[in-house]
């Protein structure tokens, strides 16, 4: 079975390259990038090898902790990067999970990230050269590093399978809320703690203590074990290696159980939900001046898009990624950055850009369901505006909330209106650009019912091209929206009220222009869209 699964993975890769040769170029670029960071790692490892053993231990434990977090969070938050074999595909063949696991385990190490990070772990182990009892230290270092790398790869598999399982339950909305709340709480706690204690004091006391403790957990024990040999504590090294090995076994068992579950539970059914109302019809019957400005078709598209954002695991995973990842990363960076607190204002503005940019392939999420829109002869602009409004419905309040948090943490309530308006402007602008790229450069995403975290293996090259173009497009227009806010912070005065008007106005105009232009291209390309996204 191991040979069969490995050969299956190989055949899939070869057939994809045969069908679209240009994918090889992107794989080559990925491989070259991976290799290009090796010299930097070797230099870092060499520098580390010349430091004292306790500094070395703390640095390696810190790095291992960050990588352990990254292996769990990146596949969940940056959806579409998980290119491992989806075990659900084996469901029709009636193969027991125990027979699949050896092959899936080895196959999990045949991806570029897995190979790269096993290499990273090995280079980290080499940092222990030059210590007393060098031979023993290095043997322990390699065993510890490789066991740690195993736990990274296994934890990514367990995390994505469990996330799929949770997102397809009725409790999905609660889980999303809890994730956002926990992410926000971590960021807020970090910012408050850093501001209260000061970065230098934290590094010297709390973080050093935390690293020592992490060196006694499966997260860092594998990298800390050689330090015990250096000080002659053989049992200290042994139990550290044992707990990492035990953790790897636990993760592997959890992975096996998750695989056994997906083999008999097809993903992404509707969890047996029944609904009494007709949200689509209700959208067509809405009264009021604002609704009268929106065409009935656009309202219907908005209603179905809003339903997707609330109930489709693929959308929910995107929503969590769009909110939690930038807030955590931005918040943590800002909390450690020294200088003026006005940089807090950058967070909601950047969030507006990343949420909008994240929709650069928005149409593809309709998958082949778009046929109904196309055969009905609906104007592309109506589809794009409806989908855009579906994002604004949750992203607008999220940006206002982020602006409130930023103004509060910076202690500058006076900047709130300008920051919120600019953030909404960047959202509109980025969504306008995304409306164009999602029509011009669509690429396949997981279809309804597939793992929301999976990368359609055939789309990696197309996704890179789409992301590059939308990044350039968004990057070119961002200064246009953000400039008044920057000037307001520098010169103050009339720039503040100008921001309040400028952000929504300019963002709105670009959003309108993007949906109009994208809509025209949608109309002329509709006969090709299904093939690109279906």
């Amino acid at each position: 079975m191991v040979a069969a699964i490995l050969s299956l993975r190989w055949r899939i890769l070869v057939n994809q390259f045969r069908r679209d040769w240009w994918r090889l170029v992107f794989v080559a670029i990925g491989a070259i990038w991976s290799l290009s960071i090796v010299p930097a790692l070797v230099v870092g490892s060499s520098a580390l090898s010349r430091t004292s053993f306790d500094v070395k231990r703390d640095a390696l434990v810190a790095l291992a902790t960050l990588l352990a977090l990254a292996w769990v969070l990146v596949p969940l938050l940056a959806t579409g990067v998980d290119d491992s074999l989806d075990p659900a595909r084996f469901a029709p063949w009636g193969i027991d999970a125990n027979r699949l696991m050896p092959g899936l385990t080895i196959a999990a190490f045949t991806t570029v990230p897995a190979l790269l990070f096993v290499g990273v772990a090995a280079i980290m182990a080499v940092s222990w050269r030059g210590e007393d009892r060098q031979a023993t230290v290095l043997v322990v270092a390699f065993i510890g590093a490789l066991l740690t790398a195993l736990t990274w790869v296994f934890s990514a598999r367990v995390a994505t399978l469990w996330a799929v399982r949770l997102l397809t339950t009725r409790a999905a909305k609660g889980i999303v809320g809890a994730s956002v709340a926990i992410g926000g709480a971590v960021v807020a706690a970090a910012i408050v703690r850093v501001r209260a204690a000061g970065l230098a004091s934290l590094l010297q006391n709390e973080i050093a203590t935390a690293l020592t403790q992490l060196g006694r957990t499966p997260v860092g024990a594998g990298l800390a074990a050689p330090a015990s040999i250096v000080v002659g504590d053989v049992w200290g090294a042994v139990w550290r290696l044992v707990i990492v090995a035990a953790w790897a076994v636990v993760l592997h068992v959890a992975w096996r159980d998750a695989v056994a579950y997906v083999l008999v539970h097809p993903a992404a059914r509707g969890a047996g939900v029944r609904r009494n109302g007709d949200a689509i019809l209700a959208s067509g019957q809405r009264k009021g001046r604002i609704w009268s400005l929106v065409r009935p078709v656009t309202r219907a598209v908005l209603a179905r898009t809003a339903r997707s954002w609330r109930t489709d695991p693929r959308y929910i995973a995107q929503l969590v990624g769009a909110l939690v990842f930038p807030v955590m990363m931005g918040g943590l960076i800002l909390s450690f950055a020294s200088g003026s607190q006005v940089w807090m204002a950058a967070l909601p503005v950047a969030l507006g850009v990343t949420i909008g940019w994240g929709r650069h392939n928005d149409l593809a999420f309709d998958s082949s369901g778009s046929w109904l829109d196309i055969v009905s002869g609906v104007r592309g602009a109506d589809i794009l505006i409806g989908r855009l409004l579906g994002v604004v419905l949750w992203a607008g309040p999220a940006l206002v909330a982020a602006s409130v948090a930023a103004a509060g943490l910076a202690g500058r309530w006076d900047v709130f209106p300008a920051v919120a308006a600019t953030a909404l402007g960047t959202l509109g602008m980025a969504l306008g650009v995304a409306s164009i790229t999602s029509v011009l450069m669509p690429y396949r995403v997981p279809a309804p019912g597939e793992s929301p975290f999976g990368a359609d293996a055939g789309s990696i090259g197309a996704s890179l091209a789409g992301q590059l173009v939308s990044s350039v497009g968004t990057g070119v227009v961002v200064p246009f929206i953000v400039a008044p806010l920057v000037f307001a912070f520098i010169w103050g005065g009339a720039w503040w009220p100008l921001c309040v008007v400028w952000g929504p106005l300019a963002g709105g105009v670009i959003a309108w222009w993007g949906t109009s232009l994208g809509g025209r291209w949608y109309d002329t390309r509709s006969g090709r869209l299904l093939g690109a996204v279906g």
């Binding site: 609904r275 339903r307 109904l372 829109d373 002869g377």
Partner: protein
Amino acid sequence: MPSDRPALGLHGLRKRFGRTVAVDGIDLEIPAGSFYGLLGPNGAGKTTTLSMATGLLTPDAGVVTVNGVDLWKNPTIAKPMLGVLPDGLRTFDRLTGSELISYAGILRGLAPEVVRERRDDLLAALDLAAAGGTLVTDFSAGMAKKIGLACALVHAPRVLVLDEPFEAVDPVSATGIRNILQSFVASGGTVVISSHVMALVERLCDRVAIIGAGRVLAEGTLDEVRGSGDLESRFVALVGDTREQRDLTWLQQS
């Protein structure tokens, strides 16, 4: 009132995917008021042809007309005349059955009151009333087919293009669908179906075309195409032969 212009005209349709020629110059004129069957083995190009005929796939060459209107040049005039049920495509599966029909109705520009009335009629006629509140993602294959048919019918089109409309549908529902389609044709509408079920095509269709390797192999009234034998014999004679079929002796139980 049937017009003398073909309800659906396909002229010189061609489509190639890479090195594979899927449709190689198809010409068909489907008269208004006919019940038309499109037959062909798997991979013959039926779905590709119907996709090009309904605006879902851009042809490499050729013209599609709906009641004389060029579909690809004037989609805003031609598409409202078509009702389409594609095969194998997903749909917006987070809507309930009722909502999906309403969505199709609103896309077609119907007023909400009209949509509500027709939606309820269609749910009852297709035996889907109980499924109206269920998410489409939880539908069986047959229910999904029926809800797709309801979406194709909701705006009362002049021409129905249905790809495998009876696939996975139970016999009771199939009888209901047959009655709906036959009465639609009797009232002057045109139905084009693709199917592999010869008995069904013989029972329903007055004209048929047999497609193989992306070309029209035979076309005409049912009697013209099947000649003195039955349709299945004629079909097998045109598109393939079972004489050299390999014998799977290892599958025999004793």
